[in-house]
């Protein structure tokens, strides 16, 4: 059942949006860090734990059977959300867990060696950078980077010369968590496929905002986190093509991922179980599925249009405030409603504190993207990120607060 899109109806589903901060209504513009959870998610988890909780895949009793079913149904829901088959969905603790699984497993498999190259972008979140640095260090492979241009888009000419016969892995963000720009997935995949490189998509910041069809995207593997898509912490999904997952050894080992174990040796189950050692985050899987079902019940076309309007309002508003520098300021690319910026003469931390005193919650710092900040000559920035429940009024409250920052801190306005 699809509901007509009404942001006030959507907001009513989020208990936390009734919170006040310092006497101001909370304006939560930090969904890029973690999203808030609709009541449907809180209810699903609680209901599961009060009614059907039991260890899955391990018991014959009624509760265990029911829990197993709900758990596997959740996998089906997540798979449908990205257009995939349930056997292609591996539960991970989050995107970071999924990316470490991929990099670690490639390492254990001996799939990289000296002379090989791994290509990432300059716009990576540390989660899609450091695991590759470590893999490169361990295997002797070389890590290379597609530069980001001044306007925040990837330098695709550089990509052309970087991606070549030595490239074994190309990992990149669907949407950077600082720039909000949607990267050209098809173009990047085409270059990687031409040289037979494995592609890994970090879909953390796209999953909450864009319709995903991972099999159609051409990438080989993709990850995203539940807690950024209105779902619980402690769970995420790794998606992979059958033959790609089949070829990967386990990264972590333990119970529930084996067929036969002797004291000296173990045989492993096929994917996805091969990658799911130990007790899984069962209630979180149920909550994750509830989040995606909640989202799927909205009129998504209208929601996306709503978010696109917020994006323009936010960016144009910021542009019109003197002394603001936007990171990734381009009209040439598709974007999500997430914008990082610097305020001339005022440190990001102070900006954040000032906005907080007006009830506006934004993120300040390097947002786990130090190299990208360095590229723009910054150590920190302020990031506002909207969600499906954000209103135009909230964006205006935010913009109004930003307008007052420089005079409060006595920063001289540049000529």
């Amino acid at each position: 059942m699809t509901l007509p899109f009404d942001v006030d109806v959507v907001r009513a589903d989020f208990p936390i949006l009734e919170t006040e901060v310092d006497g101001h209504p909370l304006v939560y513009l930090d969904s890029g860090a973690t999203s808030q959870k609709p009541r449907a998610v809180l209810d699903a988890e609680r209901d599961f734990l009060s009614r059907a909780n039991a260890a899955v895949h391990r018991g014959a009793h009624t509760l265990a059977a029911e829990a197993t079913e709900l758990f596997e149904d959740a996998r089906v829901t997540v798979a449908e959300f990205v257009g995939a088959e349930p056997e292609q969905i591996v539960w991970a603790s989050g995107a970071t867990g999924g990316l470490n699984l991929v990099a670690g497993s490639l390492g254990y498999a001996g799939r990289l060696r000296e002379g090989d190259e791994i290509v990432v972008t300059e716009a990576e979140h540390h989660a899609n950078l450091i695991p590759w640095q470590e893999l490169a260090r361990r295997t002797g492979a070389r890590l290379r980077h597609i530069p980001v241009r001044e306007d925040g888009t990837l330098d695709m000419d550089a990509a052309d010369s970087l991606i070549g016969a030595r490239t074994k892995v190309l990992a990149f963000p669907h949407v950077s968590n600082v720039l909000g720009i949607v990267n050209p997935v098809a173009d990047l995949v085409a270059r990687a496929q031409a040289v037979g490189a494995l592609t890994v998509l970090d879909a953390c910041q796209s999953a909450p905002h864009l319709a995903l069809d991972l099999p159609a995207s051409g990438v080989d593997l993709a990850v995203f986190s539940g807690h950024k898509v209105y779902g619980p912490y402690g769970i995420g999904a790794l998606w992979g093509r059958d033959e790609v997952l089949d070829a990967l050894p386990p990264f972590t080992t333990g119970g529930s991922m084996i067929t036969t174990v002797t004291l000296d040796e173990a045989e492993y189950l096929p994917p996805p179980q091969r990658f799911e050692a130990g007790t899984q985050p069962v209630s979180q899987a149920v909550g994750f599925a509830a989040a995606l079902r909640w989202l799927g019940a909205q009129d998504l076309a209208a929601a996306h249009a709503h978010e696109a309007a917020l994006e323009r309002r936010m960016r144009e508003g910021l542009r019109s405030i003197p002394g603001i520098r936007l990171l990734g300021d381009t009209d040439a690319a598709e974007r999500v409603a997430l914008q990082a910026f610097a305020v001339e003469g005022v440190h990001a931390h102070d900006v954040g504190q000032f906005l907080d005193s007006r009830g506006v919650a934004v993120r300040v710092g390097h947002h786990c993207a130090q190299p990208l900040h360095r590229r723009f000559g910054l150590t920190a920035s302020v990031r506002a990120s909207a969600a499906i429940h954000t209103t135009a009024d909230e964006v205006d409250t935010f913009l109004d607060a930003v307008s007052g920052v420089r005079s409060f801190f006595g920063a001289e306005v540049a000529a």
């Binding site: 895949h57 391990r58 018991g59 014959a60 265990a64 059977a65 197993t68 079913e69 084996i258 067929t259 036969t260 189950l269």
Partner: protein, 151 residues
């Protein structure tokens, strides 16, 4: 009949004790030996199928497991013997049978196994309500399916 009695009908307990086709016979010219395992409960089966002229000439097996898995293997052998007669069941019929059996067992009690088609194995209808036990009942049938692919 309580849920438990419906699940463990007399026929099932009987087949579990007097297992038809238990003990592997000598492989023939077109034989396949398949090993299947249910990693959750440790049930195992080794099943050998021999085909002749696109028919199932013989099925024998060995293994250990719960009464459902043991009975189901035994009932499968009985069914193939009865319906196949002296020549053995044509391969497409056997494949269709496995497919229908799977469908019924996965139906959560919605599709019963009719006695006409499934013989003694129709007593396994009750299993389909117990999702955790479906794999037990399927074990031998999946092994046969795999064996037919290889033989």
């Amino acid at each position: 009949m309580s849920g438990l009695d419906a699940l463990y009908q007399e026929l099932i307990l009987d087949h579990a004790k007097n297992r038809r086709g238990f003990g592997l016979d000598e492989p023939g010219a077109h034989s396949a030996t398949v090993h299947q395992r249910n990693p959750i409960c440790g049930d195992e089966i080794t099943l050998r199928v021999t085909t002749e002229d696109d028919r199932v000439a013989s099925v024998t097996w060995e293994g250990a497991g719960c009464s459902i898995s043991q009975a189901s293997a035994s009932m499968l052998v009985a069914l193939l013997r009865e319906d196949g007669g002296d020549d053995g069941m044509p391969l497409p019929d056997a494949q269709a049978l496995i497919e229908r059996f799977r469908e019924a067992l996965r139906s959560r009690g919605k599709i019963p196994l009719d006695e006409e088609t499934f013989g003694d194995a129709s007593a396994l209808s009750g299993v389909s309500k117990y999702t955790a036990r479906v794999k037990c009942a399927m074990l031998a049938w999946v092994a046969l399916e795999e064996g037919l692919r290889q033989a």
